[in-house]
């Protein structure tokens, strides 16, 4: 009989009428790395949350080391040696690594930090981590924080480690380092599950792959027998073309120009420092960088939402010689100038849309002032628009009177992108346009962006998946700590090069 660390038998979990997991059978062998692959909403995270005690299955059995168990709370999971490393770290910023690691553990009256530090150091050298126990969390980079999370669960004696999208926030170099650590842990006998939707990583790191689709396990395959195409087909349920057509920019003209723009936050720290660049019509300008390095502020400054401290933002209207200074205008003034500037912000339900309003009402967020009446809103046009977008982009919704927060992430994004493109923009800014979207929806969005580019729109796209940025964009601007570290031609660069610029390991011109 084979030795399994975890066995799931017929596990089902429902939320209302939605079946998140349907009769899932899955097994994790001892000492292997198993990838769980699936699109957003396929039930990966729900499944893992049942292992870590956050949810309780409606039906089915969970066996740990061959013994049936009932995991009622996260503590039960710890006691069984299951440790989960969440996508969003759960660390206290002002405490040190060691303090975070022991947080919540039982202990005697006396806190023997010296002994704890020694134990942590022992773990660190055993697995070859790069970690100083006395360092404060707020001084750490994202990948160091992740290491703290890993050590935290190892310190608690976890034998089974579950990683939820561990590479989502890492640069290519950091990802490599994480994989080295994972391989080391595997050699030392740990069993590991990685939840992900990145196919390349699955092929690189795992021994076996389990593919989930719509809450069901579609099959478990040996990684050596799998290819990107075969896994995609399992994941999506049909063959998909994974190509982005990139045409050469036609007659590029200056649309937006930033000249030495500096933006400070409410505490006076500069978020953007001396930014100068040009965005041209008919091209897609990618904006890369580690999350939180000024991407959000850059787009918001152009949209007029973020106040600019110094420098200027200029807009060159098509077929005209006038120049508008956007940096001195409010959002309303920019709208009144008939500047067609569309913006898909990163925070869809916190900024781009209102979650509790229905589709039709969300259509008018940026255009509610139009209409014949001075006082009353025009509800007919937005309703028509909502219907059109639902049809054209195949939005899955009961009707257009549904509050948008009830829709899945992909459909929310389609509504938002659809609305902004319907404005017939001259400039289109999108932030993380495919975050949380399944493969088919992602390609729908890429095609929409390309369509806009070919219509002569100046497209700016903040993205996190470098593979996609490299395929989609014409030029890529890399931000690091609020400064432009380089602007490169997407055809002539590589993922590794951009990764170096992202971390500031390389500076422009060096």
């Amino acid at each position: 009989m084979e030795n399994y660390a975890i066995e799931l038998k017929g596990v089902t979990k429902r939320f209302g009428s939605v079946v998140a997991n349907n009769q899932v059978d899955l097994a994790l062998k001892k000492g292997e790395i198993l990838s769980i692959l699936g699109e957003n909403g396929s039930g990966k995270t729900t499944l893992m949350n049942m292992l870590s005690g956050i949810y309780y299955p409606d039906e089915g059995q969970i066996l740990i080391n061959g013994k049936e168990v009932s995991i009622n709370c996260p503590k039960d999971a710890f006691d069984l040696g299951i440790g989960m490393i969440h996508q969003h770290f759960k660390l206290v910023d002002i405490l040190t690594a060691a303090q975070n690691i022991i947080l919540g553990l039982d202990g005697g009256m006396k806190l023997d930090m010296k002994k704890i530090n020694q134990e942590i150091d022992a773990l660190v050298s055993k697995y070859g981590f790069d970690l100083t126990p006395a360092e404060k969390i707020y001084n750490m980079s994202v990948s160091q924080k992740q290491i703290v999370e890993i050590v935290k669960v190892l310190y608690r004696g976890a034998d089974i480690l579950i990683f939820d999208e561990p590479t989502a926030v890492l640069t290519p170099q950091e990802t490599e380092r994480l994989f080295t650590v994972l391989k080391k842990m595997k050699l030392l006998g740990k069993s590991i599950i990685i939840i992900t939707h990145k196919l390349n990583e699955v092929l690189e790191i795992s021994d076996r792959v389990a593919v989930l689709r719509k809450g069901k396990c579609e099959g478990v395959v040996e990684t050596k027998d799998a290819t990107v195409e075969s896994l995609t087909e399992l994941m999506v349920g049909e063959k998909v073309e994974l190509n982005i057509q990139r045409s050469d920019p036609k007659k590029p003209e200056k649309r937006i120009e930033m000249r030495g723009v500096t933006v400070r936050n409410s505490e006076g720290l500069s978020i953007l420092k001396d930014i100068s660049f040009v965005a041209k019509s008919g091209e897609i300008l990618g904006i890369a960088g580690i999350s939180g390095n000024g991407q959000k502020e850059l787009l918001e400054a152009i949209a007029g939402i973020q106040k600019v401290d110094s420098g200027e933002i200029l807009y060159y209207p098509p077929n005209s010689t006038t120049v508008e200074k956007l940096s001195e205008k409010t959002v309303r003034e920019i709208q009144n100038l008939k500047i067609s500037l569309s913006f898909v912000p990163e925070d869809r339900l916190g900024m781009g849309l209102v979650g509790s309003m229905d589709l039709a009402d969300n259509m008018m967020i940026r255009s509610y002032r139009s209409g014949d009446s001075r006082f009353f809103t025009d509800r007919k046009t937005p309703r028509k628009l909502a219907k059109k977008i639902v049809d054209k982009l195949e939005v899955a919704t009961p009707d257009i009177n549904t509050p948008v927060r009830k829709l899945s992430g992909g459909n929310v994004q389609k509504i938002l992108v659809g609305r902004e493109i319907a404005l017939n923009p001259d400039v289109l800014m999108v932030a993380y346009p495919v975050r949380g979207l399944d493969i088919t929806s992602s390609y729908t969005i890429y095609n929409l962006l390309n369509e806009q580019k070919e219509k002569g729109v100046a497209v700016m796209c903040v993205g996190e998946d470098l593979d996609v940025l490299l395929q989609l964009c014409d030029r890529i601007l890399v931000l690091c700590e609020g400064k432009i570290s380089c602007i490169v031609n997407a055809k002539l660069t590589s993922k590794e090069e951009i990764g170096m610029y992202m971390t500031g390991a390389r500076k422009a011109g060096v």
Binding site: R14, F15, G16, S17, V18, Y56, D58, K67, E68, S70, N72, A303, G304, I305, T330, V331, R332, I334, Q335, F343, P345, D347, G350, M351, G352, L353, V354, G355, S356, M357, D361, M364, I365, R366, Y368, R369, F375, F376, T377, R379
Partner: protein, 368 residues
């Protein structure tokens, strides 16, 4: 398999969020909640007073709708409460916690009383129009202060509006010194009891027809305002997220101030409806806690005007009933507050069962 473990079964409760629930089912749950509440109340009544709870209940009904006059009082109080609830609605929709309705009512009432006292001889129609305008303005002044500071300095509007209630109360105490009648009584007494200057006139044989008309008009106008106008849309967006509002190019500060002025203005008019339309006098208890009760009204009805009407009617019904049972059985008026409290507790509690499904799950586990 080792045999020295035995199975024990134990029950666990599992909650699942409902996707949706049929409207009739939701109402059945609410009805069950009210019935359960009445049963619990019966125990409380017997325990405290030893009275037959059915008698007490019929006393409440008698007090609220037992005679023509009582019905009219219940209606009068209901519409005032509804009016204040409608006043709070736009502010609450914007997530601006206006806890100062009490003060805004008092200021509106003071403006009405002042006009009645100093301009009681003006033509009645003109006087009543002036009273309505003046009371709205008085409320608006009381609402402008917290709104302005919220918009420009981000002060805490809950504290600000709450504290202004006490200021308003002190102003009324101060005014009573001037308006004392008869002197030495430390109260204003019935104003213009002879010529009824500034009193709402009898229309269709009732003293309270104008009260009802004003409330219905304001309620309808505000419902339309919130639902169909650009202003209403702005309020909804600002209430959901200031970020979205900025993104949409909405001037958040302006909307905050404007909306609060509307809210406070309506509460000021409520002051006039109370003073000119019902009590014809003013005292520190003119608002009588209605400014706070209306918060319950607004939220229990989820800011829906029709729901607010139902909740107001229920609360006033219980209040009027309380006065009756207090005299009939020599109970303290608080007895009815206990009953109202228990019913509200059950009504709010049952919303949980409308949102979630509860299942008892048996599970078997190894025990050492």
């Amino acid at each position: 398999m080792s045999t020295n473990t035995k199975k024990i079964s134990h029950k666990t409760l599992h909650l699942t969020k409902r996707d949706s629930i049929a409207t009739w089912k939701a109402w059945v749950i609410r009805l069950i909640a009210v019935l359960l509440a009445l049963i619990i109340c019966a125990f409380v009544i017997v325990g405290i007073t030893g009275e037959n709870p059915l008698n007490v209940y019929s006393g409440i009904i008698d007090g609220a709708v037992g005679s023509k006059r009582r019905i009219w009082v219940t209606v009068r109080e209901t519409v005032v409460l509804l009016l204040i609830g409608v006043g709070l609605m736009p502010a609450f929709k914007m997530r601006f916690w206006n806890l100062g309705a009490e003060g805004q009512i008092l200021m509106g009432g003071a403006a009405a009383a002042a006009l009645m006292i100093y301009a009681g001889n003006l033509p009645p129609v003109l006087l009543i129009i002036l009273i309505l305008i003046a009371s709205a303005c008085a409320g608006i002044i009381w609402g402008f202060l917290p709104a302005f500071f919220k918009a420009h300095f981000n002060t805490n509007e809950s504290l600000f509006t709450l504290m202004l209630n006490y200021v308003a109360m002190q102003i009324i105490t101060f005014l009573i010194v001037f308006w004392e009648n008869p002197s030495g009584s430390n109260s204003v007494g019935i104003i213009n009891s002879a010529n009824k200057g500034g009193w709402f006139p009898k229309i269709f044989g009732s003293d309270y027809t104008l009260n009802i008309i004003i409330v219905v008009v304001v309620t309808v106008v505000m419902t339309v305002y919130m639902k169909y106008t650009k202003h209403g849309y702005e309020i909804a967006v600002v209430g959901e997220s200031h970020n979205t509002a900025n993104y949409a190019g909405i001037n958040v500060k302006k909307v905050v101030v404007r909306t609060m002025l509307i809210s406070a203005g309506i509460c000021g008019i409520a002051g006039a409806v109370i003073v000119s339309g019902a009590s014809h006098t003013i005292s520190t208890s003119t608002a009588g806690g209605r400014g706070f009760t209306a918060i319950i009204v607004a939220w229990m009805a989820n800011l829906n005007p029709l729901g607010m009407l139902l909740v107001s009617a229920f609360l006033v019904f219980m209040q009027q009933g309380a006065i009756q049972i207090a005299s009939q059985y020599g109970l303290n008026e608080n007895a009815s507050d206990i009953i109202t409290g228990i019913i509200i507790f059950f009504l709010i509690g049952c919303e949980f069962f409308i949102k979630y499904k509860v299942r008892v799950k048996k599970s078997e586990e190894d025990a050492a």
